[in-house]
């Protein structure tokens, strides 16, 4: 089995930080705000690995640090400490030690990201097809027809009406915007895809279709994915392994059906028991 990503001891603190920050925050203190300096410990000591074709779920309530982990890996934020290695064929990248150009290279050519809010992932001033073309242009495709065909293929794959590919995504429904975002993220066939609350706020039938789509893509392309969600149903359907976070810490990690049927931590037990 090929390892795609190895994250060790990732920490992210907002604020100046002090020597007491880590010791006085976390689930046992019921806070992620340091009582001494007021800094926010968004994530601390987060470690996990990810293999090719695997979907890892990161589950937790708002403010648990689940998105922070992903934002750091996608270079939307800079971690305070920790290490993450991305394995790409025979190459490997020490993610947090790269320069800006190398980071841009990975973001543009090797990683895909789908945000909860399509505004973050899409350019609303450019047509749906144009959004995908942007991404393809970055990966050195330049023939107009080739790009248009590929964009069409991606939109078909993600079940966006291709007649609407020249329209602005701001005129699309939320579910459709999300599909365009997924098409855009997949344009370059990334070996690693981040999905941050991609189905939150969508109606149930649209949610189901998007979850199906994600699974089909994993099966077709063997993409490794990290899916951040507070929705147990999403975790159950998609993730083979899951980590549970609270107040910036990983409180539990394991095979998904074990986390859901035999949760060990009091918080996870409460979470699972309160699911509909």
């Amino acid at each position: 089995m090929d390892k795609v990503l190895e994250v060790s001891h990732l920490s992210k603190v907002f604020g100046k930080g002090c020597v007491n920050c880590f010791e006085h925050t976390g689930p046992e203190h019921n806070t992620n705000i340091c009582p001494y300096c007021g800094s926010i410990v968004a994530a601390h000591d987060v470690s996990f690995d990810l293999y090719k074709g695997e979907i890892l779920g990161i589950m937790g309530e708002s403010g648990s640090g689940k998105s922070t982990a992903v934002k750091n890996l996608f270079f939307d934020q800079e971690p305070s400490s920790g290490k993450a290695v991305f394995y790409d064929g025979d190459k490997q990248y020490d993610l947090f030690a790269l320069n800006a150009a190398q980071k841009r290279h990975l973001r543009n050519h090797r990683f895909g990201m789908v945000y909860q809010n399509p505004v973050l992932g899409l350019n609303f001033n450019v047509s749906a097809g144009g959004n995908i073309a942007e991404r393809l242009l970055m990966s050195n495709l330049s023939n107009y027809q080739v790009i248009r065909d590929r964009a069409m293929e991606l939109l078909k794959r993600t079940e966006v009406l291709t007649e609407r590919m020249d329209e602005l995504p701001k005129n699309f429904s939320g579910g459709m915007q999300q599909r365009v975002q997924i098409a855009k993220a997949l344009a370059i066939n990334p070996p690693l895809l981040f999905l941050d609350e991609v189905t939150t706020g969508l109606d149930l039938s649209v949610q189901a279709a998007i979850l199906d789509l994600i699974l089909e893509i994993r099966q077709e392309m063997d993409t490794a994915m990290i899916i951040v969600t507070h929705d147990l149903g999403v975790i159950r359907l998609l993730a083979s392994r899951t980590i549970v976070m609270k107040y910036g810490r990983v409180i539990e990690a394991g095979i998904t059906d074990q986390i859901l049927e035999d949760p060990q931590h009091a918080y996870t037990q409460r979470l699972v028991a309160s699911a509909l």
């Binding site: 089995m1 293999y51 189901a208 279709a209 979850l211 199906d212 699974l215 099966q219 159950r236 359907l237 083979s240 392994r241 394991g254 095979i255 059906d257 074990q258 049927e261 035999d262 060990q264 931590h265 009091a266 037990q269 409460r270 028991a273």
Partner: protein, 242 residues
């Protein structure tokens, strides 16, 4: 000459720690059993004796509290399933260990054919070949052909259970765990399933099973392990300072 079992469970126990209720709930205690290639070991015992917990512990849906679950894999290595790393467990599930539960969980848009063939896709078998095999077993289980192309989400209990079984039996695992596979089936289908399980035994699959009906146990089991409910059904653990 003695034959080594494919699976040897020694001193398996499972106790749930319920933090909210401040309780320890034992569900299985000190279970010992062997499962051999081409043989079926049946777990029997009253409700609450922890039969399903043993299967789930082996499959690692439950984290065993103690004991050793020695699984002899295809390559001859022995793995303690109670302690093996998650990736190793997931890989064994994909390649060697199958589990048919009483419930089928499916994606709303997947066709029955695909649901059944998915484990084969995962093993790297081509789609055409996998679908062919899926249709074959669905036919054997007498699931009407008109249903193959649609999702099992709307099927009756018995139809769903047939899909579930088809999926579990098709991948011909080295070790197969069966939790009441005939529970919601009519007598004719039960006969079919008994036949299929017998076929798997002939092909050398090691099977550990729970059956609802004693006569099915009698017809299929090569040995029987009787479980009794763990004693001291619940006990409070020390009050935590909170």
């Amino acid at each position: 000459m003695t034959i080594d079992p494919v699976l040897k469970v020694e001193g398996f126990s499972k106790t749930f720690t319920l933090h909210e209720q401040n309780k320890l709930i034992p569900s299985s205690s000190n279970v010992n059993l062997d499962v051999f290639s081409g043989r079926l070991t049946a777990l029997i015992g009253p409700t609450g004796s922890g039969k399903s917990s043993v299967l789930k512990g082996i499959y690692r849906t439950y984290l065993p509290s103690s004991g050793r679950i020695a699984y002899r894999s295809t390559n001859g290595n022995t793995v303690d399933l109670a302690k093996a790393d998650e990736h190793q467990i997931l890989n064994l599930r994909k390649q060697e260990i199958g589990f048919v539960t009483q419930f089928l969980r499916v994606l709303p848009r997947q066709s029955t054919e695909d649901v059944v063939a998915t484990p084969l896709y995962m093993q790297g078998i081509s789609r055409a070949e996998a679908r062919e095999q899926a249709r074959d077993i669905l036919d054997k289980l007498k699931l009407p052909e008109r249903l193959w192309g649609i999702s099992p989400a709307t099927f009756s209990g018995g139809e769903k259970q047939r899909v579930n079984l088809a999926r579990g039996l098709l991948s011909k695992p080295r070790l197969l765990l069966l939790d009441e596979p005939t529970a919601s089936l009519d007598p004719q289908t039960t006969e079919l399933v008994i036949g299929l399980i017998n076929d798997l035994k002939c092909e050398g699959v090691a099977i550990l099973a729970i059956f609802h009906h004693p006569d099915v146990v009698e017809r299929l089991a090569d040995n029987v392990v009787k479980l009794s409910p763990p004693v001291g059904t619940e006990s409070f653990f020390e009050e935590k300072a909170s």
